[in-house]
């Protein structure tokens, strides 16, 4: 850091309240020359604020520091990076997290097919992704992977890119988030470089764009992407897209794009079942160099059902607590470490809440679920609510029956079997069940 600036900030630190100092002065980076001190602000917002409120103070402090003529202060938006203060001895946590060194194409090498934990909920998506990686531009084009948040779509996308590079190291692959595509395009337009932008994206061997639901409502970006997409497909270059929903369901997206997204193979990723959740936990634990007993993995897997990020967060909490206390990870230990998190889940998921959510979803009255009515429009939601109660709570079948208007436990058992059967044969019902499961455990 510039010596002058470092003297200046220690003075300012003593004079300004810590919050003000940390918000406005700390983010500034200084580049000092003979005649000027250039202060780089991370964005326009900080720059304007400093200009308005602090520049006078900064100049005053600077002139007090310098006995001869003080340099003029120039404020600009920018950063001195890329050099960063690198730690001398990274902790195990940091090492595990930094293993994912990124390449220029933005691919994260840690996301490979080998590290992807396969289960019933994602095996089709994985198989299709492997096909695409082995037959670039010739298998499914575009490959459209969709599903809820935190279920592994991004992992698959990176795995495709990494796998292609294994067999064709010279392949030009670009992974990016849809928001980055939009902001790059806006920048290109501002700098009169739209042709370079077009050229860049239209000549890649594989374009992997994450979360394309963020294109919704951005017409100019959609237009540009439409042309990029067409050029790539015409030239048999691979396109892989992920989205939080099926193409036809994306609001604010042009029809022609929706229909094109469906040309290749749309493939869903569902929330993982218990066994897959446990396998994911085991794999993450191995990756972190931690010995995770089966019973602990099952305990966490049973409690955290909604998505993989939350599952990872819970495991991280247990590992961190074990490092801090120096105690081994046992079931009791994990229960204690996750006490807050579990209390939270238990509060959210109870039979009353399940009944309320199911009734709202099917637009029926909550009381109907408890009544003796036997019309199809009531019995089906009732059976689904019972199956959800069995899956999401620890109540016994007789208890669940009692909470559904005093029904027998065999009725609950029948409902659970029926729903299981229908989930395999009736797509609409399977989707309803997944939606409800997601809503309840989110």
């Amino acid at each position: 850091m510039s010596l002058l600036w470092s003297q200046c900030i220690s003075k300012l630190e003593g004079e300004l309240p810590p919050q003000q100092f940390n918000t406005w002065i700390r983010p500034l980076q200084a580049v000092e020359s003979e005649s000027e001190l250039k202060l780089l602000a991370p964005n326009r917002f900080v720059l304007d604020w400093v200009k308005q409120h602090f520049i006078g103070k900064i100049e005053e402090v600077l002139s007090a520091q310098k006995t001869d003529s003080s340099p003029s202060v120039v404020l600009e938006i920018g950063t001195k990076k890329p050099e960063s203060a690198e730690e001398s001895s990274p902790s195990p946590a940091r090492k595990a997290q930094s293993a994912k060194k990124n390449q220029p194409n933005n691919l994260n090498v840690a996301f490979s097919f080998e590290t992807f934990v396969e289960g019933k909920s994602n095996q089709l998506a994985k198989a299709a992704s492997m096909q695409v990686a082995q037959n670039v531009g010739r298998a499914y084009n575009p490959l459209f992977i969709y599903g809820g948040v935190g279920l592994g779509k991004t992992h698959l996308m990176h795995a495709i890119g990494n796998e292609i590079l294994k067999s064709i190291p010279s392949a030009n692959i670009v992974y990016l988030h849809s928001e980055r595509f939009v902001s790059d395009m806006v920048k290109a337009l501002q700098h009169n470089a739209i042709n370079t932008f077009k050229e860049y994206y239209r000549t890649v061997d594989a374009l992997l764009i994450d979360d394309i639901q963020f294109f919704a409502g951005k017409e100019r970006s959609q237009e540009e992407f439409f042309h990029t997409f067409n050029t790539l497909l015409e030239n048999k270059h691979q396109v892989v897209l992920t989205c939080d929903r099926y193409p036809k369901e994306i609001k604010g997206l042009e029809e022609r794009l929706k229909s094109r997204f469906g040309w290749g193979l749309p493939v869903a990723v569902e929330p993982p079942d218990l066994e897959t959740r446990v396998a994911i936990l085991m794999s993450k634990a191995v990756h972190s160099g931690v010995d995770l007993p089966d019973e602990v993995a099952f305990f966490i897997g049973k409690r955290i059902r909604s998505n993989i990020r939350e599952l990872e967060g819970a495991l991280r909490r247990v590992i961190a607590n074990s490092h801090f206390t120096g105690k081994p990870i046992t079931l009791e230990f994990a229960k204690e470490a996750l006490r807050d998190l579990i209390a939270l889940q238990d509060r959210l998921i109870n039979v009353e809440n399940i009944q309320k959510t199911v009734a709202e979803y099917y637009k029926i009255r909550g009381a109907d679920l408890l009544s003796s009515k036997r019309t199809r429009s009531i019995t089906r939601p009732r059976q689904i609510a019972m199956a959800l109660a069995k899956e999401l709570t620890n109540h016994s079948l007789p208890e669940i029956g009692a909470m559904f208007g005093g029904r027998d436990h065999t009725t609950v058992l029948h409902a659970c079997r029926k729903v299981q059967e229908l989930r395999e044969s009736d797509n609409k019902l399977a989707e309803d069940y997944s939606n409800l499961l997601r809503t309840l455990s989110a």
Binding site: M1, G14, E15, L16, P17, P18, Q19, N22, T23, R26, P27, Q29, P42, N43, R44, F45, V46, I77, T79, K80, K81, S84, A85, E86, E87, S89, P90, S91, A93, R94, Q97, S98, K100, N102, N106, V149, G150, H177, E179, S183, D211, D244, S306, N307, R309, E310, E312, G313, R316, R317, A320, N321, F324, T325, D340, L341, L344, Q345, L348, A442
Partner: protein, 232 residues
């Protein structure tokens, strides 16, 4: 004799780790220190009731990181929400970003989207992020599910309220940073007779500091009674 006027200068007590009494919160404090130093978890989500000390700790992280020549941005979202989400632009180039009161932007589409973008970029560039809120990620009313799940991806830590004995130590630390001598019996008196949340007690201590200076008196129980009798 008329009371001497204390000069109304702004005194800014340091918000460092040394001025924070961890009590039952030794674990979160250690993780925060490590992350601030660039040697811990990449993402920490710290939650706890108002007044538990989240803001103090974030400011302490900024100090710690600065001592290690790391570049930092601290954003008190409670204040910044009045302006626009452009405040989050470009922060991915900082080594450490500290976002205070993230619950304040929950439900605001522009801020949520900006934070989502920042989150992804920080992750791409392997930068550190510390976020605070009054509730854990799953309980925040964030509308963007992509953002909500990402916030729970890292290490989520709870900052617990301190027991009375620890509050006493925390108050003594605060008094020391003000240059004020707080005898234990006076501290206990404050805890027993006034609101027991630390921010209120710290604020009261600030007023008492001012009053003892003006009156050139030591801080005693009779002085407190007289002072509060006067001000109420």
């Amino acid at each position: 004799m008329p009371q001497q006027l204390a000069l109304p200068f702004a005194f800014n007590p340091e918000l460092g780790f040394d001025q924070f009494h961890p009590g039952v919160n030794a674990e979160p404090v250690r993780h925060l220190r490590q992350t601030a130093a660039g040697m811990g978890e990449r993402l920490i989500f710290l939650w706890g009731d108002s007044g538990a000390g989240k803001t103090h700790l974030l400011n302490a992280c900024c100090r710690e990181a600065a001592h290690r020549n790391r570049t930092i941005s601290y954003l008190p979202l409670d204040l910044l929400i009045a302006w626009d989400a452009g405040a989050l632009e470009g922060l991915e180039h900082q080594d450490l970003v500290c976002l205070d009161d993230v619950d304040r932007i929950a439900g605001d589409p522009a801020w949520e989207a900006a934070l989502f973008i920042l989150f992804n970029r920080l992750r791409e560039l392997n930068r550190d992020l510390i976020v605070t809120a009054t509730a854990p990620p799953a309980r925040l009313s964030i509308s963007l599910p992509d953002l909500k799940t990402r916030l729970g991806w890292g290490l989520t830590l709870r900052l617990h309220a301190l027991a009375d004995e620890d509050k006493l130590v925390a108050l003594e630390l605060h008094a020391r940073s003000l240059g004020l001598d707080l005898p234990p019996q006076v501290g206990r008196f404050l805890l027993a007779h006034y609101p027991r949340d630390l921010p209120a007690l710290r604020c009261l201590l600030g007023q008492l500091d001012h009053a003892t200076l003006a009156a050139k008196r030591r801080l005693t129980i009779p002085f407190i009674k007289a002072f509060l009798g006067e001000t109420t």
